[in-house]
């Protein structure tokens, strides 16, 4: 008889699980989502920004000469702008 409360607990857990896991399936309309292409480009943008900041710090701490830094910075900014354009293109296509 002592197993009856335990059985009730298990049944309550099962009911809770079913309600919790099936909630998205009972949803009328799924939430809007961001394009995977945009998300990937945004991650690339963040990485490029980090690279720009790193190059700048390398220059300020004397690891990169003025000429090397100017060349590298220009190249990185061009790459960053290319990524930003890609994000725009992907966003417009999606809209």
């Amino acid at each position: 008889m002592s197993s009856l409360p335990e059985l009730l607990i298990v049944l309550a857990v099962v009911a809770g699980l079913v309600l919790f896991i099936s909630a998205p399936l009972r949803r009328l309309s799924p939430p809007p989502e961001e394009s995977a292409d945009v998300a990937e480009l945004e991650a690339a943008r963040e990485a490029k920004y980090r690279e720009l900041r790193d190059a700048e710090l390398d220059h300020r701490t004397g690891k990169l000469s003025d000429e090397d830094y100017a060349e590298l910075d220009t190249a990185l900014r061009a790459e960053a702008i290319e990524i930003l354009r890609g994000i725009d293109r992907a966003t417009i296509e999606r809209q």
Binding site: V13, L72, I81
Partner: protein, 743 residues
């Protein structure tokens, strides 16, 4: 509650299997609701595993011996602190801990990425739930932590005395956190390979988890080393034991990944390498878990032979074959976007460092598994020990330290000769000065060339890190005009990955100086001493002053007070003990059970310092007490049944009184016998060690941990930007790239 616990595990298995199906179905059909439902299955698994683990912990806390696992691994006399840790000292409990940690970390990553990596996440969810289902099924079908006995014993067998150590409360959860965290980059790498989304996104969302895995696994390894040093009584901290190596291999692999991932982020290079590293680290983490459980290799850490070998080998085989198949399938998309521009660049140094780390993994793997390989080929299991590792690991470690010093000094992409000269002048000078001073010091370390080179390289690394910090601070001060401490804090806060990494490199140099010094210049002596006698170790005189003894409910402790002096001056006094815990073996007898050396452990007498540790341990043999113990066994073997028979005819209260009187008499006899160690001391064995710079290992570990935490912490400005960013689409046209900011 055992029934509830068992039911929760079965439900966890069903939920995990459902979640795999829902996630894969959602990913294949693009139906968001099924993907969300699959993600919720991970949260549900975490909830179920947490409840099940709480029920098991409660059983240990209450000493409920109707649970077989509690009866076998705890007792009423086990301190409460260790009762809670006893849950993961068992095969069954540790499997449940694995599921619990895996499900919690999986829930965290899936919650944080619920609006990111849309295509990859469902497959990653399925892989993570696959691991969850695997470990839950082991707990359900092979090692059930909720198995009960209809006739529970009155007392449990107790926890293995070797595990009665504070770090045992933290060491296994740290290691398991490391192992389970490693499955997260593994799962997302699999998802990225399946979907072909191999850009920067999956790396950016899992990088922090890879770093967390590295940190937790590192803490676990170091706590294990500390436990070995202070508890195992052999005088060392690393024995190249298979289970130690099983944790080291994925740690080395993920260390390589954390570095090479930066090259992929910045340059789009090394994609095959990174995918291989992360898949390899994930597989090695399961291999490590398997080694602890299978008993296929001899180790003091292992749970012993078990029936879990076949399921684990199947899983590892599937992981290896699946990983190779995915990489081959996606080889075209994994081609590098760029080429290495110069061998004198940070990416080239990272590449060499990766090669060294992977070479270390291969060496450790080969030598660890050599006994099995030799048995398979020749039928003879060849045993290998630490000397087999040293010829390979020592030069590789030297190269690693050298590269960890070069990395912070040079820039990404390319450097000019003038910049190289400017960057290397001070660190190289510091390394050379360290070498020359050590060579010139009389009685210095010049007799051990490898150690000497390590000290010189450490000087190079530390000077390089200090130089980089100073240059960064100067650059920041030129703009902000802050005071030096403020500028330093600001610099590190704004560049946590970079400077956290540099601090880790400095910590590694400090740690390896400790390893090189303590392994090259250790002095040890195994001696037999009577009270009043002395031994001499490395200029120290160690005198056995007097024996000490104590008897409690939990143990009998035989110890020695040792006086340490040098040149006639008192240095320190240390006490070392050998603790004997009551055994559950009926063959030991009612008195002998308290003197069973199989149930004993050591307490080291340690005087630790920055320059050297004085480490002592006593090894008490109870043979001189054998006569008295046998006599006591015989008396109580005759007397106890008589008392029990009489007690059976008495009312319960009186029966209890009679039994209590019997045990009190037995305890008095035991205490009398134990006291002979003080009244009639005999020659006792001691291991006495003077070991230089061991403390540097723990200091280095603390520095590495601090650096790791700094690198792991989110960048505040970025976090704020994210929080403040509007959810609506940007106006047309690219936003400006970042303007230059203070360093």
């Amino acid at each position: 509650m055992a029934l509830v616990g068992r039911a929760l595990l079965i439900l966890a298995l069903i939920v995990a299997l459902y979640g795999i199906g829902a996630s894969v179905f959602g990913a294949r059909t693009g139906r968001r609701e099924w993907i969300d439902s699959g993600r919720r299955a991970v949260y549900a698994l975490a909830g179920l595993a947490t409840l099940a683990f709480a029920i098991l912990e409660d059983a240990f806390f209450r000493s409920d011996f109707s649970y077989n696992v509690v009866a076998q691994h705890s007792s009423t006399t086990t301190p409460t602190f260790y009762k809670l840790a006893a849950a993961w000292s068992s095969q069954e409990g540790s499997l449940l801990l694995w599921v619990f940690l895996l499900s919690v970390w999986s829930s965290l990553i899936l919650f944080l990425t619920r609006r990111k990596v849309r295509e990859i996440a469902p497959y990653a969810t399925a892989v993570l739930l696959g691991f969850g289902a695997f470990f839950t099924s082991l707990a359900v079908f092979f090692a059930n932590p909720f198995a009960t006995s209809a006739t529970p014993p009155a007392e449990g067998a107790g926890l293995d005395p070797l595990l009665l150590h504070p770090s045992m409360m933290i060491h296994p959860p740290m290691l398991y956190s490391g192992y389970t965290l490693l499955t997260i980059p593994f799962a997302f790498a699999v998802g990225a390979l399946i979907t072909g989304r191999l850009g920067a996104e999956w790396i950016s969302v899992t990088r922090r988890f890879a770093l967390a895995a590295w940190l937790f696994l590192g803490i676990g390894i170091l706590l294990g080393a500390r436990w070995s040093y202070t508890e195992l009584g052999w005088g060392g901290y690393w024995a190249w034991d298979p289970v130690e190596n099983a944790a080291l291999m994925p740690w080395l692999c993920i260390t390589a990944f954390i570095h090479s991932i930066m090259i992929q982020e910045k340059r789009g290079m090394l994609k095959v390498w990174n995918a291989s590293l992360v898949l390899g680290a994930g597989t090695l983490s399961i291999l490590g878990t398997f080694l602890v459980r299978s008993g296929i290799l001899n180790s003091i850490h292992a749970f012993g032979a078990s029936t879990l070998g076949v399921p684990f080998v199947t899983l590892i085989g599937a992981m290896v074959i699946g990983s190779i198949a995915l990489i081959v399938w996606r080889r075209e998309q994994l081609r590098s976007d760029a080429r290495l521009e110069s061998l004198w660049s940070r990416e080239a140094v990272f590449l060499f460092q990766n090669m060294v780390l992977v070479a270390m993994v291969l060496v450790v793997f080969w030598i660890t598994f050599f006994p099995l390989i030799s048995e398979a080929l020749t039928g003879t299991k060849v045993s290998v020990g630490p000397p087999a590792f040293r010829p390979f690991i020592v030069p590789l470690a030297l190269m690693l330290v050298l590269l960890s010093g070069i990395g912070p000094i040079i820039a990404w992409r390319r450097v000019t000769l003038a910049n190289l000269r400017r960057g290397f002048a001070l660190p190289v000078a510091a390394g050379l000065v360290t070498l020359i001073v050590l060579v010139l010091v009389p009685g210095g370390p010049s007799s051990r060339p490898f150690a000497l080179i390590m000290f010189g390289l450490a000087g190079f690394v530390l000077a390089g890190v200090v130089q980089e910090l100073w240059r960064g601070v100067s650059a920041r001060r030129a703009i902000t005009h802050d005071a030096v401490p403020l500028a330093l804090v600001g610099l590190i806060r704004r560049n946590r990955r970079r400077y956290g990494g540099y601090i880790v490199h400095a910590g590694l140099a400090v740690l390896l100086v400790g390893v090189a010094a303590s392994s090259s210049f250790q002095h040890s002596q195994d001696v037999l001493l009577s009270p009043g006698q002395k031994a001499h170790v490395d200029g120290y005189t160690i005198r056995y002053v007097r024996p000490v003894e104590s008897v409690s409910d939990q143990k009998i402790a035989f110890g020695a007070v040792l006086n340490v002096s040098k040149g006639g001056k008192h240095v320190t006094t240390v006490t070392t003990t050998r603790n004997f815990y009551p055994s559950q073996d009926p063959n030991d007898g009612l008195v002998g059970k308290f003197f069973d050396s199989a149930n004993s452990d050591s307490e080291v007498g340690l005087d630790a310092g920055l320059r050297r540790d004085i480490w002592t341990v006593i090894n008490v043999q109870t043979a001189p007490l054998a006569g008295l113990i046998n006599q006591g066994n015989n008396v109580f073997a005759k007397y106890a049944p008589q008392v029990m028979t009489q007690a059976a005819t008495m009312p319960p209260a009186r029966a209890q009184q009679a039994m209590n009187a019997l045990w009190t008499e037995r305890d008095v006899a035991v205490a009398e016998i134990a006291h002979r160690f003080v009244t009639h001391p005999w020659k006792t064995e001691f291991l006495l060690i003077v070991d230089p710079l061991v403390t540097w290992i723990w200091l280095g570990a603390l520095i590495i941990g601090g650096g790791g935490l700094i690198a792991l912490w989110p960048v505040p400005s970025l976090a704020r930007r994210r929080a403040a960013a509007p959810k609506t689409a940007r106006p047309s046209g690219p936003p400006p790239v970042p303007v230059r900011e203070p360093a």
